[in-house]
Amino acid sequence: MTDLLVALLAVCAVWTGWRVFRVDSMVRATFSLMLSFVAVGAIGVLLSAPYIGVATVFMMAVEMMVMAIFMVMFMMNPAGLNPMSMVHQHRVSIGAGVLAFFGLAAAILVSRPPSNPVAPDADVVTELGLELLGPSMLIFETAGVTLLATMVGAVILSSRQGRFGSADEGSRPPGLTEGGDPAGQRPDGGGGGHHHHGGHG
């Protein structure tokens, strides 16, 4: 019974994962990816990892929402209901994906991992908590510091006013054709560009 459910959810995760690169719109792609994560989270819950499974769903719902917001900031069609296919080196990518799948699948089918399932009455959430704040505290804290560094780095990378002047100074949109006129707005032409030159006195 569990086998069947796990298999169904795994198929679901793979199918929605595949849909990510097949659907027309980025919003659909984002939430298709979220469904893939939700399926993995459900497998986690079935395989007696309730915290990991539910936390995956929570984390990914928030993360995909962030993704959707960013996507709209950069996409040409925010609603994203137009056909879309933006791919390069398509054959190589398919080859790499298929190769990765068959290589790993062969490794899985050949190898015999030990069968040692979780004890049904184990209190895995408590165990995780004791592990996080006990023997593996240093690792856990390292993750925390890494996230802090990420926050600082993300703010620095994305701030408009860089150390050497405005980050979008002299930026030029790519041409509509090879070497052609730039598309979209021109920041040097005034209007959209907010240049802050205060503080140089």
């Binding site: 980025m26 395989l47 990892a49 990991i52 398919i94 069968s115 165990e127 995780l128 856990f140 996230l147």
Partner: protein, 101 residues
Amino acid sequence: MTLTIVLLGATALVGIGLYGALSQQSFVMLMMGLELMLNGALLAIIGFWSLSLGGMPEGQLMAIIVMAVMAVELAIGFALIVAVYRKRQADVTESIDTLRQ
């Protein structure tokens, strides 16, 4: 048996994610490919932890680390996209084919 199913699913996710990360032009879609590969890793970790390692707590810790990696990847990835967009006003990989200027 369950472990094989779970691992095959994880493998397929990694394969699809690799295809996406290599083939997509848009940065955001490219990052979705990376996330999908991490999803496969997460699934494999859950499978191994639950069925092969007897539920040793370090396995769950590993899954938490993968989630932290996802968060870091997302945050730094989007910051880089913003930085590139500021410089080139584009969100596709071809726009940074040459990093001159």
